[in-house]
Symmetry: C2
Subunit: 363 residues, 2 copies
């Protein structure tokens, strides 16, 4: 469909009501031909919403993360970027653990490195339950201890014991290493814990890995866990999803799917078709999946991929609920431990797991 | 919050040629936010997503509705705009009723004009249940029969009997006429139907009116209905809500909150503070509200107001679920009766009412 030329002329003519900066843009656009069906959106200034907490306002007011333009060319460059980021995360963990009263112990499960993340108080109703955590980080970040941050938040806010998988990652270990490790730990966990007492959660790449772990579990005839909580899951490694366009450079955490993020997708896929369901679970068969709580934000680059997965789960008859947070970019819902939104997010997930995981008395 | 004028002047000055304008702007804007905390987002071209139905693609490919720039100055101009729009809607209703097997009868309830909208088949489980419909239309559109379109869709897709309120509107009848009429019909309905057997739904202004009707019902000590379904509710008449900025001119149905929509808000409010909870229910006390299903789209100008209301309901302990549709602008989820998304939307709402309204056997 072609944009009708007269539309823009009409707007320009009635421009008294429009901000001054839009007018020349529209006049100019009228003289140009637009690609079929595309919508031209003018540049805009986005104020920080004043209806969110001060902590969230501070996060939203940050400039776009410059990392989106990095393009590492060698394994050594990848490793340096990853290690720099990990150091920064790890530096904040002692205080986070202390604030939330959480202890973290390294372990090995089925030959895979992992961490046992234990809250100070485990509720009686949660004694037989455990959460399996698959960390986020664009499939390359958060190795070792740095991957436990999300697990510390979950254990601290919800009172669940968490097992956080330190799965192998590129550049040394591309697909399917992360998936192999996640499934191996889940399989081992099933030997001691009823599947209905296991919840699996993760954010971003970890949310996608949560879903691909279930796809692989189905393929291997493992039982489904009791519930899952994929947060803003990057369920499609191709540039598909409307918010990848609408929220480009609106999301200040990731900026754009192009550049660095695209490079991580190819690094992880290692030559495999990006639409393989074990890479991009939006293309998988999700029938029989357990109840799921999905989370995103209105500025999230992955808003579309979150809602696409939500709709896909619903269409497959899965009990799936959606939370979308005002003004938040990718992962803002747990970026600041002091933000009330962070507590509210974890309270929602805790209630969801409480409702859907097996009861202790069913032991 | 005031927009910093000098930035717009700067943008306009650099706008002599489109490429020359965008390139330096991209360089400047992509990784920066203004000192005020504002984020500068470059102009962009949005392709139509190919993961939605062909019918939805056609809706998304439409140019921005030029109505946003209208600025009627007299009651006669308002009336002409409203009547022109109503004629276009009414012209399509006979075919819609026939397609969905729905009959519509005008009536009067508690002195208020209304329509009884009846599906061909009312399920046995729904015989004691009824849905009260408060139509949308920016608080000025869809008078008389034109207001029944949403009710016809709901009755046809869900098998519920619907009572559609033809509430009075500006310019002749500003606030609180619409609210008075809605509450009057609800009060009358309570004389013959148990509150738990009543669902209330509406879209856009009708979604907001659904919520303000509940606020007034609480004030008048009326019982709450069994469940509600506010679709992309315009719960805040002030320019508050992040997507009013992020999705301006991304939403091709309404375009912008400025201009025409702003004019309708003031016309309806008639001098009253726009933050009055009975005008903008996001500022009301929603404790004790019944289960709610809220709906929006990723391009919806009112995405933020939908998710803000969802979070507010959740924070108040209300069972509230959220549906967000990929790529959709305001009300796209029911814009084309043949789109599979339209059926899926109504199926979700039907299941929600089925689950939460009182059972016939409880009679």
């Amino acid at each position: 469909m072609k944009l009708p030329r007269r539309r823009f002329l009409h707007l320009a003519a009635g421009a008294a009501a429009l901000p001054a900066y839009i007018v020349p843009y529209l006049q100019r656009a009228a003289a140009q031909s637009a690609p079929t069906g595309m919508l031209e959106v003018p540049a805009r200034m986005l104020p920080v919403p004043d209806t969110v907490s001060p902590q969230m306002q501070a996060l939203i007011a940050r400039p776009v993360n410059p990392r989106h333009s990095l393009s590492p060319q060698t394994a050594a460059e990848w490793t340096r970027i990853v290690e720099d980021a990990a150091r920064a995360v790890v530096a904040g963990l002692p205080k986070l653990r202390e604030t939330l009263g959480v202890t973290v112990e390294p372990t090995t499960i089925a030959g895979v490195k992992a961490f046992i993340v234990t809250p100070k108080l485990i509720l009686e109703s949660n004694r037989e339950r455990v959460l399996l955590h698959l960390h986020g980080g664009t499939r390359v970040f958060n190795p070792g201890e740095s991957g436990t941050r999300e697990a510390i938040l979950m254990a601290g806010f919800t009172g669940y014991k968490v097992i956080s998988v330190d799965y192998r990652m590129p550049p040394d270990f591309p697909f399917p290493a992360a998936l192999d490790d996640s499934v191996a730990v889940y399989r081992e966990l099933l030997k001691t814990t009823k599947p209905e007492n296991i919840g699996i959660f993760g954010a971003s790449a970890g949310g996608s890995l949560t879903l691909t772990t279930l796809l692989r579990a189905k393929m291997e005839n493992l039982p489904m866990p009791g519930a899952i909580a994929p947060g803003t899951p990057t369920v499609d490694l191709t540039k598909t999803g409307d918010s990848l366009f609408t929220n480009a450079f609106v999301d200040n955490v990731v900026g754009t799917q192009d550049g660095f993020i695209r490079a991580t997708a190819f690094l992880y896929a290692n030559g495999r078709d990006l639409k393989d369901p074990l890479l991009s679970p939006i293309y998988g068969d999700v029938r029989g999946f357990p109840p799921a709580i999905l989370t995103s934000g209105t500025r999230d680059l992955y808003l579309s991929n979150t809602v696409r997965m939500h709709r896909k789960l619903r269409a497959a008859g899965v009990e799936a609920v959606l939370q979308v947070w005002e003004g938040q970019s990718h992962l803002h819902y747990m970026a600041d431990v002091t933000a009330p939104e962070t507590k509210e997010y974890h309270d929602e997930v805790a209630r969801f797991f409480d409702r859907h995981l097996g009861k202790a008395k069913a032991e």
